[in-house]
């Protein structure tokens, strides 16, 4: 399918009709402007139509403006299913890096106070936060300690001295997902991730010092409510996930679902979409195991944030409180969550798969911290280390997307193409000349993450705003980046 074959619903929404392919239960909708739509590879449309075939799917298979091709769902894919009517859960609709997500930490520091210190700060963060393949965290989680961590998530970290109680209030699900079932997690998954908690990982995972410049604030009132209350304020963004624990849980259940889905009469065109009804033995087991991985990811980001606080406190010889190191919010990208949404005029409990997409609750919705209730849920959109990121907010218009929006800028080039076009060391040098100090565990990996390998984040956020999926609050400019 080519972009020209899609039906234009609005300037920011295009539809693949239900009759486009046999087996589609609902239409697929792609949120994008014309330019972004043209830049999407054909596999995005094919994968979106595959998602439209999931048993129990409601309304539409959706793809956000940062959508690009992956496996199973496209990255940026969203699907809500009705578990009461055979709705399924699919690891391919969540991704292997379960609860890969982003958190944003505000500081009371300004660019003037930090500019001369970016390089040593980034160097210290690089030394303190384990990054790259083979890096081990400072704590090893095994046995009952792991069970507890998988059940409590970020709460476990706070109870063990890695953070403060207030942090939990500013995480999706308060950093502790209900319904985690450690018994559903295999020995292999426990072993594989045992040393990786508190590590950044690699690929597009990063830790970045950013500045919110006055010119980049588009909604001053909401920015202030979120804690951006001074010109040239410094923030720190953390992007990581559930590490190998999540990867193995997804792998285990992908295989299990492949072996049982026929029993449930499920036959989908992509085996990566292997699934089982949520309310089946296998579906419930995966849901319990996935929630464990969600909690491990919350815990991971909490531990990393704790190290960031330590580095800043040590460097500036002030306490985290004196430096105003306050968590703005922590969002999940790769999850399936039971949420209440309005269907046919009434509330219904749906399982919303988001793979490379962010929940974006509107003002007044349950699940948002009290302090943010009048404004909406903070949505943190991670861009490339060259071009910047965004802090956005959920809007009431996003009900059509089950209150989901973009998670990043979205890849434009494949990893191989990016490596052919960019050189990691040259990139580090050129970014250094622009005042962005980079430390990386892999220069080859750095090339894959060059700004030119990604879509224009301003365009992507603009399209998300145009489609009513979220609204921009502040543009965040990179100053220093630790790349996994």
């Amino acid at each position: 399918m080519k972009p020209g074959q899609l039906q234009r619903i609005s300037d920011y929404c295009y539809e693949i009709p239900r009759d486009a392919r046999r087996g589609m239960r609902v239409p697929a909708r792609i949120y994008a402007n014309e330019e972004i739509l043209r830049s999407m590879d054909d596999a995005v449309f094919e994968q979106a139509t595959n998602v439209a075939m999931l048993p129990g799917i409601l309304k539409y298979a959706l793809c956000m403006p940062d959508g690009h091709s992956g496996y199973g769902f496209p990255i940026g894919g969203v699907a809500a299913v009705d578990p009461e009517n055979g709705g399924v859960i699919s690891p391919g609709g969540i991704g292997f890096d379960i609860n890969c997500g982003i958190r944003l930490l505000a500081t009371s520091l300004t660019l003037g106070e930090v500019k001369a210190h970016i390089q040593p700060l980034v160097d210290r963060l690089f030394a303190r936060v384990p990054a790259g393949v083979g890096a081990a965290g400072e704590i090893t989680l095994k046995g009952s300690k792991l069970d507890e961590a998988m059940t409590k998530g970020a709460l476990w970290a706070v109870q063990n001295g890695f953070g403060v109680q207030e942090d939990l209030e500013y995480c999706e699900e308060n950093g502790c997902m209900e319904g985690a079932d450690p018994e559903a997690v295999s020995h292999k998954a426990r072993e594989r991730g045992k040393s990786q908690t508190g590590t950044l990982g690699s690929g597009n995972h990063f830790l970045e010092i950013q500045v919110a410049k006055k010119a980049g604030i588009s909604d001053e009132k909401t920015a202030r409510a979120f804690g951006i209350d001074r010109d040239d304020q410094i923030l720190v963004m953390i992007h990581s996930g559930s590490r190998a624990t999540g990867h193995q849980i997804a792998t285990d259940y992908l295989q299990r679902f492949l072996s049982v889905q026929q029993r449930y009469g499920i036959n989908l065109p992509d085996r990566e979409l292997a699934c089982a009804p949520l309310y089946s033995e296998e579906g419930r087991a995966y849901f319990g195991a996935m929630n464990c991985a969600i909690n491990i990811a919350f815990l991971n980001r909490q531990l990393i944030m704790h190290r960031v606080r330590e580095v800043f406190a040590d460097y500036f010889k002030k306490s985290p409180r004196e430096l105003g190191l306050r968590l703005v919010y922590d969002v999940c990208h790769n999850t399936a969550k039971l949420e209440s949404h309005e269907i046919d005029g009434g509330p219904r409990k749906l399982l919303v798969h988001r793979k490379g997409a962010t929940r974006a609750f509107a003002p007044g919705m349950r699940g948002i911290p009290e302090r943010y209730m009048p404004y909406g849920q903070p949505v943190i959109v991670g861009g490339s280390m060259e071009t910047g990121s965004y802090l956005c907010v959920g809007t009431a218009r996003a009900s059509e997307s089950f209150f989901s929006t973009v998670h990043g800028s979205g890849r434009l080039m494949s990893r191989t193409q990016a490596r052919k076009q960019f050189n990691g060391r040259d990139l580090q040098r050129s970014l250094g000349e622009k005042g962005i100090h980079i430390r990386t565990a892999s220069f080859s990996g750095l090339a894959e993450e060059a700004g030119g390998a990604y879509k224009d984040i301003d365009e992507v956020v603009g399209a998300a705003f145009g489609a009513g999926l979220c609204a921009p609050v502040a543009r965040l400019v990179p100053l220093g980046n630790v790349k996994g």
Partner: protein
């Protein structure tokens, strides 16, 4: 080269086509491809200990999946790069099985220049087939 990157399958991840004259050779090629995706200069094993394992699956295809998954498991659980030196695959009425002898090399950032980490083997377009006497597999790795 017993493997090639396929460009039009996925932009977020990495797709490869691997070949071999036998299933054993195909599995060796797949292991080599996995290492080449992760490392800038895979080269030969530097130093390590011998490791062997056996696996069983319902089909050759699922055996390849399990084999690659085993290599990934050791990378994360034990910080070891497992480099197969011999893979012996047997096919029976109940499926397929293998015995692999490998060199297990401790991951050392001073020696190993990683491009990316491979998180998982996906089932997206995953296939194993014998065409004109050559075993061919398509694999999409999540990175």
């Amino acid at each position: 080269m017993p493997f090639e990157t396929i460009e039009d399958v996925t932009s977020a991840d990495v797709a490869v086509r691997v070949t071999g004259r036998s299933t054993g050779e195909l599995f060796m090629s797949a292991g080599e491809a996995l290492r080449a995706i992760m490392l800038r200069d895979p080269g030969r094993p530097a130093a390590g200990t011998e490791l062997s394992f056996e696996l069983r699956a319902v089909s050759t295809e699922m055996l390849l999946f399990a084999f690659l998954e085993e290599l990934l498991f050791h990378k994360d659980a034990d910080s070891l790069l497992v480099i197969p030196s011999m893979v012996d695959v047997e096919h029976g009425p109940d499926g397929a099985s293998l015995r692999c002898v490998a060199i297990a090399e401790p991951i050392d950032p001073g020696i190993h220049d990683f491009i990316v980490d491979v998180k998982a083997v996906t089932m997206h377009r995953f296939s194993v087939a014998r065409v004109n006497g050559v075993w061919t597999a398509t694999i999409v790795f999540d990175v």
